[in-house]
Symmetry: C2
Subunit: 335 residues, 2 copies
């Protein structure tokens, strides 16, 4: 089978590609080729893999050619992130809405009804004036996004459901919780600090937390997130039970609890590298986000949230020691 | 003030234009000009009005020029209807999604933050496998559209909310219930029969009803629908209470009750002109539609549903006798 991963050079996309390559087979078929599209080259281990093809160009330019090149499986992860979309409204529409439409049109006209997993986001939920969010957002909470990023994700969920209803693709949307701990550099997402306050101190780098320690949020490790994408792909339409967008599981945790876990794993000196310095722009966005989530439909597919944030940090440390994609100095702060 | 009505030559658009012209002033300002854009000419009475300008061309071609021509008030009614969108997927995307985006971009770049009322639809709600609709859809029912038309309406609601959040427009979306009784010819909407089974027998024309008499649905008269659009325009952002899409009021009525009312008003001979002949295509679409609705947020703005379907028919008959836009032979079947 041939697999397309958009945003395939990004952290989640690359990890997904590695997971599929390690399986060798996917959904009952041998994997012949994985095509990674992105704006930059994928990591070296993937470039070196004979079953991996990399295409470095904007997704919008990529899509027309898909009509003549059927894929069996598509994971659509490419996206401009929340902070970028707030700063550049046109970029957000182009990267998140136009690109998804072009992708869906390419897949539709290929004619082979590929299965498509769209990486949506917990950012479809938002607190609106007079319509506060429940303590935990569920699969049936009415979305009311308060960022352009969340708006585009939600619009694409509905578009994918309609392409699926028409029989053009076999699509489903998995709402990713905030991924923590991401390796590498901070990115333009307003949620970037949910990784930064763990990653930077472990690397020996001083960092700031832009929100109060009492802020809670649903998070998921990279491994759990990739497992969620694969499981949603493999679910039958019947198991999806009609509505095609569902929450992936998240561990509901406060910033204070995250730092307590960091201290428990790495000691008070590491924790002390995080200083609280409120950033009104980030705090304002986060204030309208979900404080926690449930994921009953994912649970019915066998997906459960992590049991502790401490386990997530321990997994990050293990990943840093063994996995590609983690910088060699990622644990320089652990003494 | 200058008012733009897209779809302004259509039945609801023309009636809205007449209502605004009759008021003379709107929202505290004198109306200087009403521009009607549509794919065809508006009715003669509007063409003859010196305050009305008609522009006959596709909306998509119209929108770039809006950047240099600010409007104070915009009613966005132009749309391909449900049956058309099911038959021609590309037409639906172009007419309902691309055109709305082009309109919003034009209005954004005009820079004067116009107030915009978008005519959304009860078709945003739909019954999905494993997720049946409640007996009455409310302002907070989770939309799950089962037509491309409903999908595009919902996507545009969210896009308009985001343009509003960014301060580019002052937008709000009013979900129209099925308008009954529409004068004139049947159209491509799957809901067309909700007018046809009253209009045709009153005109002396035999007609068929494609669904069972037990089918229930929320309907609204043309007058109530226009009043709803005007009221939603005039509501303050505070009165809208955050979320920018709301249900307009509907009278929840069964097809059988509609025909009983027709018989009460016009006699058994008129009713007998309706024959039940199931149309699987239409019945299949209608089976996934709302069986009824509530409209609490509209009620808070002072909007109430009609009290009886009989009153709606009596209003239609009065309109046929007195109003422009109603054919002279519309009551030929009334003896």
């Amino acid at each position: 089978m041939r697999v397309l991963i958009t945003g395939g050079a990004g952290f989640v996309g690359a990890r997904l590609a590695r997971a599929l390559l390690a399986q060798g087979r996917f959904d009952g078929h041998a994997i012949e080729e994985i095509v990674l599209t992105d704006q930059f080259e994928p990591p070296a281990d993937l470039r070196a893999n004979p079953r991996v093809t990399s295409r470095v160009r904007p997704l919008l330019q990529e899509c027309a050619a898909l009509r003549d090149e059927p894929f069996d499986a598509v994971f659509h992860l490419a996206s401009a992130v929340s902070g970028e979309c707030e700063a550049d409204f046109d970029l957000g529409l182009r990267s998140n809405l136009d690109s998804t439409r072009a992708l869906l049109e390419g897949l539709r006209h290929a004619g082979n009804v590929p299965r498509v997993v769209f990486a949506s986001s917990v950012a479809v939920f938002g607190a609106d004036v007079g319509n506060p969010l429940p303590d935990l957002v569920t699969d049936t909470t009415l979305p009311s996004p308060q960022t352009s990023y969340g708006t585009h994700k939600l619009m694409c969920e509905y578009l994918i459901a309609d392409y699926t209803r028409k029989g053009y693709i076999d699509g489903r949307s998995a709402r990713l919780m905030t991924v923590s701990v991401r390796p590498g550099k901070p990115n333009g997402a307003a949620s970037s600090f949910f990784s930064g306050i763990i990653r930077e101190p472990l690397a020996g780098v001083e960092t700031t937390c832009p929100v109060d320690p009492s802020v809670t949020h649903p998070v998921s490790s990279p491994a759990h997130t990739v497992k969620g994408l694969i499981t949603v792909y493999q679910a039958s339409r019947e198991a999806m039970g009609g509505r095609l967008a569902l929450n992936l599981p998240g561990l509901n945790v406060s910033v204070g609890e995250m730092l307590d876990a960091l201290e428990a794993v790495a000691g008070p000196k590491v924790r002390a590298r995080v200083r609280f310095e409120r950033d009104e722009r980030v705090a304002g966005i986060v204030a309208n986000w979900s404080r926690g989530s449930t994921a009953d439909r994912a649970k019915a597919l066998g997906l459960l949230p992590e049991t502790s944030y401490r386990a997530i940090i321990e997994q990050y440390i293990a990943d840093c020691r063994t996995r590609p994609g983690y910088p060699s100095d990622a644990l320089r702060g652990l003494t």
